[in-house]
Symmetry: D2
Subunit: 84 residues, 4 copies
């Protein structure tokens, strides 16, 4: 069973790396790009036989995201997909 | 108009950070987690009035991903969503 | 002229990625590793002819670090070396 | 005992994030910045009583860097400091 999770800086946290990319877009002529924010992306492989159903999988992934993948003070996480 | 893009290491490229997270899962009792791979996640805000339609937006985002967000030799990118 | 700069999370900011690496160390038998914190590292090449002396270079690098490389609310930067 | 380690992309590996920062420097008027490459930085705390001398510490850190902190195919590591 595969899952994807993203971890992003909270909206009020400054993201200098994202801003650098946005400025680089401008200098390359991509003026349509108004804002860029950079986060982390995780692809996770779960042992389906050890998780009973996608609801249990989501609970496990949420726990993992909060404990191991993100800093809850400055970051949010979002489970993007669970499946297969 | 908002878009999200992920950039991941190609499957044959070793990901020590992802492996560290997978091992940490094991030591915390999350034995169901068999594999973790870490990538980058981008949230992009486009000026909708400067892009004609979502097809043009996807073309622009693909160009941007290939030139500015990823290293094509070791990474893949995927446009996860374009909308609103 | 080359310079190196590191950007680290402030001591009171939780670092889940660093913790994952520390736990992975433990599970691999490296029990001597008590703490790991992960930051960013920048190698910068300056046009020496456009900067008058290493003091001016340090000022420029400090400005750059504060504006483009770090988020002053959650991160510290340190110029590790300027030279050659 | 504290140590610092940096992990950088090998010179022939393209670094789009570093290039974005370099371009952003230009667009902010920092024309003196000719090249930027982004890497990772690790601060490590070792149990001094479990490591006999700084030579043994360096050996341990080198092993750790090669196994857990870097991908030897695309990255180099450098132990910047061991001490205290």
């Amino acid at each position: 069973m595969k899952a994807t999770i993203c971890v992003t800086l909270k909206p009020d946290v400054l993201d200098p790396q994202g801003q650098a990319i946005q400025k680089a877009c401008g200098s390359l002529g991509y003026e349509q790009i108004q804002d860029v924010r950079q986060g982390k992306f995780f692809e996770i492989e779960l042992d389906a036989s050890a998780v009973s159903g996608s609801e249990a999988a989501e609970r496990l992934l949420a726990e993992l995201s909060a404990k191991l993948l993100s800093n809850p003070v400055i970051e949010n996480y979002r489970i993007l997909s669970v499946g297969e």
